[in-house]
Subunit: 159 residues, 8 copies
């Protein structure tokens, strides 16, 4: 499973895009003293190699009325149902993350809801998926860190 | 805590930017039959209101050599140390998410590492923070869903 | 879900009734230097708005021979049965409180019984409800606080 | 520990007051074909015997902005601190119930809060009490039953 | 459920028999300065009242080759099966004690076995009873106290 | 650790004494067609070999007002304190059994109390022993089996 | 179950073979001042008595690409299935150890895998065995000790 | 961390040595139609590369009087003590395996003992190591699989 090799220029381009995905390529080019065409080619190559999968907005969910975050651990009746259950989970847009995990739970999800009542509805939807045996919920009192940018910068420093 | 009111046009702009943060404002304007200036003004307003906090790249961490994901539950000696501990956690870039939670754990983190050895180092760093009493780790065998876009679209449909 | 607005006079009326629901309206009126009619109108309005749901006696259950208190956590086979199970629970008068909860249990109850033997009968009744998978009981050794009046006073101070 | 003996008339009086503590004694007297003086004497006697401890309003806390209910299990460093800790807990008006319990927890509380943020503050207050070792919180998604009247009626039928 | 009233003489008789059930009644009589007939009558009365249920030898099980003690917690599929399961358990002579309990387990047993292999067989017998859902075993490394005599003496001092 | 060898006659003597420790030796002798002297010698030998440790009464504790049974699991701060803690536990007569155990608890006790209030006092006494870190209690709702005689008979059949 | 008696010479032979199973018998003979024939006879006798079951290489699994170790606890639906499930487990070569255990799990396994993905496949294979109800996995971050030689030497010193 | 490359001949040599480490190199050579010198060179190379770490006897511990196997989970006061604690554990020869683990425990050990009493001593030794906070033990009722040979063969088939 050979890794795609990024060079120093790629790192610097990514480092700038991480902080603002809308940074014009001409700005990046000027900063790095390369041509805008080179930036374009490099980004394209990283997209084709599947390194860059896309971009997304960082929104303030509290201001949008979605302040309630919970983690839901799911026990399956049988792990052979994992794929099927994940497809059903994927139909619930309020589940933003789902992992197959070791330890106590078979699947572990993160949900975002408007309030307690809405969270209850989402948890009940998860509970009602065929093959789901039981769920356990842990409620977030405060989202203190949610920041992949530190990770991204750190990766490029360590590569 | 009055919520900022978004109108239909704001929703449509956000809906397009969510899928590609680099969509040129002129494209958005054409699609919505409004002027590019209006798009610009609206986005600016949503940034100033703190609705749009920024943008970020979606990278393929596996290809970058960071395939190991774990959730780490942290028990504190005393919750009065929560703020201090979170500041220390914030210095570890491989912790991408941290929540103050109800239930078993005081703080619940998500980490991304290169491999088992690297994960061990990060967990030991967390364990060594003053005020951390014990940690419990749950390892992800597969990240099946990690997609806030469905949530974002759903929010704008429901507003 | 707009909240009913209580003014200072409402608060003062409630504050007096909380301590003794049988306080004559004329006493309240004199204390607040308003007419008894006003008191009557205000209480009526708060009843109609659903703020005041009723009143209840505070009895000494130990003296009545009901000294045994336990909390019973209920695991359901499936949360789709929640409504049905709650209806069955509601038929057991010795269950005084029941909550749908996050975490380990699906439903969490408080029961009051005469003694260990009676508690066993109530727990077995809960266990025998169709859809109840298992129960776990925690016994109260002493009811140290059971006082909503402090909460009520505090609410009116904070409003 | 001899129990106070209630006779049939006492039961009927209590049965009426349970449903409405403000029922005029003359109404009770008429219904039971006894004199209002007798009602008065009986109630007084039950108050003096400590059977009737008082009365309280049943308010709609959701409408008052206090919709968040949680159960908090408290682990003490040592049970010799139980009395001291309960006194500290008693200073927090948002704790409406507290029990010394068997099983996992030393003390088990019920709290009512405005929202997640407020609940966090209350939990942190509990955590900060000297002698409290750790807490575990279970959040109510729905208060389905909270009704002591069924119990009270049942007690008088069974006596 | 009126308790049988024991007087001082009964206590003294029991106190002597507790230490040695074979103490001749004439010895007891002499010690208490009463007639042997009185001792006989008192013991008979306590047997008829169901206070004295019988007597048993205290054997050294280690010397008899039964050194392995374990506690087995039993989860039932449904508590309505409790009675049936207890009857099945009662057929296994190596189960010396069984309780219906609150908390985690439905039934809690004490077993005595020759060794690990024998304990496994007994546990498997318990597991195979219809209605038993799962068992959990806790092994005794040392029986440090097994002495009801202190309790008995204490009871008679406190009565 | 050579085991004392019991022969068929010993077994038969024990089998009779198990059911009634007060059976006169002459009755045993007649039943087994041996001399009363032989019975006496055999019993003496088994006492000297430490096989028979003594005898005890089987009392009805419910009738004596001691109906409350609980199991208490004890966590020590350090197992080096085990011996010291067991000596302290041994001073509490209401603890009838105590084991050093594997698994969750360090020491596991059985207690008998008059009622909930008394049980609380005993549990608090255990909690207050120096070196005891925490306790967890499981309450018996019903003592369904407490019978070592089946075990004893079974042992002699299997020897 | 009489134990085979090893004498001092057997111990010394085993002590040398433990450290290097390929040690020539002539070397052992010289060291112990006995004939090579005696060594041969002794080893043969210990093999026939089933003391020596064979020999195995100690390989560096990390270097062979098998760095991932996990412990998997298995819950069975019913312990009567234990034998059948163990036969199925035995068909998975990546399970190197399996025990029937007391406590939480019915069967407890150790697995060795190439990486997280491979571990997931093995865990899913275990989960899919008929009669397996659920599994729980604990991942090794570092194998710090894996050395039976210390045990073997210690056994021969203690015999 | 480049892996040493084994070719088909290496695999076949290892495959034969795995089943019997004492197989003479001349037998291996004949079987594989290569010279004994080649076998010698290959084995030497694999030893120098650290692939072959040594060899060990497979003994029947039951016959040697060591039939008692347990798994002991260790909680540390702080993971910074891990290295120190592992050194202390390493001084106890009856601990045959120790892992730093994720999940509930910090360190997870396997021990072999003569019997319950001996196991208790080993567990107490572990408990008494400075920095060890608590231990939890799970006892093996039967070692059903302990066979790395299947793994080794499987590795060479998969390489």
């Amino acid at each position: 499973m050979a890794k795609f090799r990024l060079d120093e220029t790629d790192h610097q381009i990514l480092n700038m895009l991480i902080d603002n995905t809308r940074t014009p390529f001409t700005d990046i080019a000027k900063k790095l003293s390369i041509s805008a065409g080179t930036v374009h080619v490099r980004v394209k190559k990283m997209e084709e190699a599947g390194i860059i999968l896309g971009s997304s907005l960082t929104l303030n969910y509290e201001k949008l009325g979605y302040a309630f975050i919970a983690y839901v651990g799911i026990f399956l009746q049988n792990t052979s149902q994992t794929k099927f259950v994940l497809e059903r989970i994927n139909e619930i847009p309020f589940v933003t993350v789902a992992h197959v995990t070791t330890g106590k739970f078979n699947v572990f999800c993160k949900i975002r809801a408007r309030d307690t009542q809405h969270a209850k509805e989402i948890i009940f939807q998860l509970d009602d998926i065929e093959g789901v045996y039981r769920t356990e919920t842990m409620i977030s009192l405060e989202e203190s860190i949610n920041d992949k940018k530190r990770l991204m910068h750190s990766i490029f420093e360590n590569l």
